[in-house]
């Protein structure tokens, strides 16, 4: 009976609204009119649609609450998983009653685009699909009270389900009614010192499937490292300089320490891992053609001239957060992955993983999309991408120079040893063949002339020295050949008979590949091998390992890939 009365009331309202509108349209015929909307016209289902649509991964929900903590200037966040609850506790500014009421608003945000990360005003509802109940406890410094805000999501969901089952009432529960009837607030006196400030978000009674995923420590750690503004580990070599630069150049930059606590597991502080053998970082603004700064970057090259290696503490490849390459950050939150910027290394893509770095977007007009995998398409985004492309191109050049310098330095060191050896042989007249030695010195001289300009400053003078020594040796050898002494002839003959001289190979000068180099996944794909899951990862890993050892497109690399391709083709034919 009550339902019928309710329906009648709704009909009456609609009729009245309809009549009014009809009347007004009649009066204003031919003119465009503003069409008012009733609060009851916004259905409660909107909450479910947004929550389920935007936060498909339960870990995204954790990100949303940590994001609020970052916006509240927290420096320490604890994520505790106990039983079927997740608690996110931060030492940020906390909220007083007014701010808490603002936080519960739906789709309204008072946060600044330049200073804060969140700005859509729905993050607080991200736990809707995940848990049955959300409890927020908070206090601000100097606030004598604690405030507790509770969302009974289970009751909201039950009401929406009822609406769906009851066909006659189709979506009758409005968003306002849904939120009003199942949101609670209470005030408590705080027993803590008045300067205590914090916010605690507790997601209670999370479904078994979701809590299982959240309880996976490795997965959670990986997600946090890949997505949140995690601080550098204390043993990160360049932590101090990078932190100083980022805090002073990136507005709203904040790095947090996250403590993970789970039942039956040791506590763990999540921090950006220290990576061995990094060069001193380069950092600067990234500017548009008009000189407007749109981003700030830092980049470190691997001193070992190879892919940035994973810290040994990770047990499996899947646990490793992957620090090789660059990533976009907005106030420390990751947008997209490290693969996103890889295409900007066009000439030498193999040099991309030699870097680790981050690009902090500071142009407030570049807005991350809700999934945080890209930016919203607009002019600012395009300008950013162009500016980043230029900067990364420059970094690619730097990496190339670094690579060439490394090769040159290595060669100069090697030649130094070799020339010293030849000098000893010449002095003691123990070289087997003057012609071979002379030719070898020739090759060394040619290569040294090439490597000298690429070498580091110290090694350039060394190269000069080697060049003059090699020339002197050649002169001496020529003299020996023109007017040999009997004693020298006798000794050389003896040596020639006893053993062959070690012949250092003439350095191979690598030619750039005329065609794009084959890759292992490409070869296997061409052979119609289906690579999925961990096998695909393994193949990728093998490819990366090959690239660490061999230069992409070098003759040895090509031979290896051709060999693999031949074997794969033969195997296919056998089958």
């Amino acid at each position: 009976m009550a339902k019928t009365a309710k329906m009648r009331a709704t009909d009456a309202r609609q009729l009245s609204f309809y009549e009014l509108l009809d009347e007004e349209l009649e009066k204003q015929q031919g003119k465009l009119m503003k069409l008012p909307i009733d609060p009851n016209d916004v259905g409660g289902e909107l909450l479910a649609i947004l929550s389920k649509g935007l936060y498909t991964n339960p870990l995204d929900c954790i990100r949303e609450y940590v994001q609020n903590a970052v916006d509240a200037r927290a420096s320490n966040v604890t994520i505790k998983i106990t039983g079927n609850s997740v608690i996110i506790f931060d030492d940020g500014n906390g909220m007083n009653l007014e701010e808490l009421l603002q936080a519960r608003q739906f789709g309204l945000s008072f946060k600044s685009l330049t200073e804060n990360v969140g700005f859509r005003g729905i993050g607080i509802y991200s736990g809707f699909d995940l848990c049955r109940r959300l409890r927020i406890t908070t206090t601000k410094a100097d606030d004598p009270y604690l405030h507790v805000l509770v969302f009974d999501f289970a009751a909201m969901k039950a009401e929406l389900e009822d609406d769906k089952r009851d066909k006659q009432s189709k979506g009758k529960t409005s968003l306002i009614k849904l939120l009003s009837e199942h949101t609670y607030i209470k005030r408590e006196s705080s027993e803590f010192p008045v300067d205590r400030h914090f916010t605690q978000v507790e997601l209670q009674d999370i479904s078994d499937t979701h809590i299982k995923q959240l309880s996976n420590r490795a997965e959670l750690r990986l997600y946090l490292l890949q997505n949140l503004p995690i601080d550098f580990a204390d043993d990160f070599e360049h932590k101090k300089v990078l932190s100083e630069k980022l805090y002073s150049h990136v507005p709203g930059y904040s790095a947090i320490k996250i403590m993970l606590q789970s039942d039956g597991l040791e506590d763990e502080i999540v921090a950006k891992d220290a990576i061995q053998n990094l060069q001193f970082p380069s950092f600067d603004y990234i500017r548009t053609s008009s000189g407007q700064p749109v981003a700030y970057y830092w980049a470190c090259l691997n001193k070992d001239r190879g892919r940035i290696q994973s810290p040994s503490k990770y047990n499996t490849f899947n646990e490793y957060p992957g620090y090789a390459g660059f990533v976009y950050k907005v106030k420390g939150f990751t947008i997209g992955g490290r693969h996103k910027l890889q295409e900007m290394f066009q000439r030498k893509p193999q040099l991309y993983p030699w870097y680790t770095g981050e690009v902090y977007v500071i142009d407030a007009n570049v807005i991350p999309n809700t999934e945080r995998d890209d930016f919203e398409t607009n002019q600012a985004k395009r300008a950013l991408e162009l500016a980043v492309r230029d900067t990364l191109k420059h970094l690619e050049d730097e990496a190339e120079i670094f690579q060439a310098r490394g090769v040159a330095d290595e060669r100069i060191e090697k030649y130094q040893e070799e020339v010293t050896k030849i000098e000893n042989q010449v002095v003691s007249n123990t070289q087997a063949n003057e012609y071979d030695t002379y030719s070898r010195l020739d090759a060394i001289l040619i290569d040294l002339q090439r490597q000298k300009p690429k070498a580091s400053q110290d090694n350039r003078s060394t190269a000069e020295d080697i060049i003059s020594r090699a020339k002197r040796l050649q002169k001496q050898l020529r003299k020996e050949v023109d007017t040999p002494t009997p004693e020298a002839t006798r000794r050389r003959r003896a040596v020639r008979n006893e053993k062959l001289l070690d012949r250092a190979p003439v350095p191979v000068i690598e030619q750039p590949p005329s065609l794009p180099a084959k890759t292992l996944p490409g070869v296997l794909k061409d052979a119609s091998w289906e690579l999925e899951g961990q096998i695909a990862l393994l193949v990728k890993l093998i490819q990366e390992s090959i690239e660490d050892v061999l230069t992409l497109g070098s003759p040895t690399y090509r031979n290896l890939l051709n060999d693999i391709e031949a074997k794969v083709t033969a195997n296919n034919a056998d089958e």
Binding site: T78, K80, T82, G83, N84, S85, I87, F89, R133, R135, T137, L146, V148, V150, F192, R196, F198, Q200, E202, Q204, D205, D208, I211, Q261, D263, G264, D267
Partner: protein, 342 residues
């Protein structure tokens, strides 16, 4: 005031009685104690004993009726907030279930087991907690709808779960319970034994306590019961004097403490049974303490033949000041009552 509010008496017992017991135990094993119990939303025990505890598993009932469930949700939120705010979250686990169910079935309503379990199947799993605090609001005879005395069963199961691992058991119960005549039957059962001169008279005295003096009957029954079941699980049990006190909303409560040593032979767990240093006579002769107005003292009424002068040995572990307060002579009611009874 809420249902889980602390009282001065309860605080006194935690700090001046339980804490010294735990300190002695902690010194003995030389590592932080693993806790399993009912901390309540205000986590008074966890706060008072924080220096001694390591791993902690707290249990909070999810409630059975809609109203209870709503209350329980709030209680859990408050408990978690207190845990986080007091910096106690590390190695703290909260399970949601009746504690009896966690002990009996190993898991809470979400299927999560206590963290200090050996990973074996539910019917075999053992716990390795060092302190178990069963701080019940209700009585020992709490039964489920089917009539099973779940609380008693879970206490029996607790010794099975803890078998091989020494621990302290704190047991707090309401004097009002649904055990009915079972307590009297138990005491009558004890009467069939002969434990020397005055044994039967003393038991008679306990059996004749009036309805308002039920704490005496329980004081005589519970330690004996705990000894019996713990010895069957190869523990050597030491009962400390029980304390009667007035709890929240003037509830008559009784607090017990037991030290349970798992018996080993040459480093290996014994299998037959444990023999406690206290026999039936010792247990019956234990003094009853009272905690009123935040003061811990010997109860003014003790059983006939109680030796006030020699009971000091029961309190040797306590600091001097507390011991002196406890042993301050109570108003001697015992002799007059005794005369009347005769």
């Amino acid at each position: 005031m809420c249902a889980y509010a602390d009282t001065p008496n309860k605080a006194m017992i935690r700090r001046c009685w339980d804490l010294p017991i735990l300190e002695r135990w902690h010194t003995g094993i030389g590592k932080p104690l693993a806790y399993f119990g009912l901390p309540g939303p205000e986590i008074h025990d966890l706060l008072d004993w924080r220096q001694l505890l390591g791993v902690r598993t707290g249990i909070e009932s999810p409630g059975h009726t809609k109203k209870e469930r709503e209350q329980a949700n709030e209680t859990t939120g408050r408990l978690n907030a207190n845990i986080m705010l007091n910096g106690l979250s590390s190695r703290f686990q909260l399970l949601r279930a009746d504690i009896e169910d966690v002990i009996l079935n190993l898991v809470d309503i979400h299927g999560n087991p206590p963290q200090m379990n050996d990973g074996r199947p539910a019917h075999l799993a053992h716990f390795t907690y060092d302190v178990v605090n069963l701080d019940f609001d209700g009585g020992l005879g709490y039964r489920v709808k089917q009539g099973l005395a779940k609380r008693v069963d879970s206490i029996k199961k607790l010794f099975e779960r803890q078998e091989g691992h020494s621990f302290i058991l704190f047991l707090t119960i309401n004097v009002r319970d649904t055990l009915g005549e079972e307590v009297e039957n138990y005491l009558q059962g004890l009467q069939t034994r002969d434990r020397g001169p005055g044994w039967h008279e003393t038991l008679d005295w306990y059996l004749n306590r009036t309805k308002g003096e039920r704490e005496y009957k329980l004081k005589a029954t519970v330690p004996s019961f705990i000894h019996a079941i713990s010895e069957a699980r190869v523990f050597q049990c030491t009962s400390l004097p029980p304390i009667a006190y007035t709890g929240y909303e003037r509830a008559h409560m009784l607090h017990f403490a037991f030290e349970l040593e798992a018996i080993t032979i040459n480093g290996r767990r014994a299998n037959l049974r444990g023999f406690s240093p206290q026999d039936d006579r010792h247990l019956l002769d234990l003094p009853l303490l009272r905690c009123e107005n935040g003061q811990l003292q010997l109860a003014s009424v003790q059983h006939p033949g109680f030796d006030f002068t020699n009971c000091e040995a029961n309190f040797s572990f306590l600091p001097e000041t507390i011991r002196t307060t406890i042993l301050a002579p109570p108003t001697v009611v015992q002799s007059r009552r005794r005369r009347n009874e005769r």
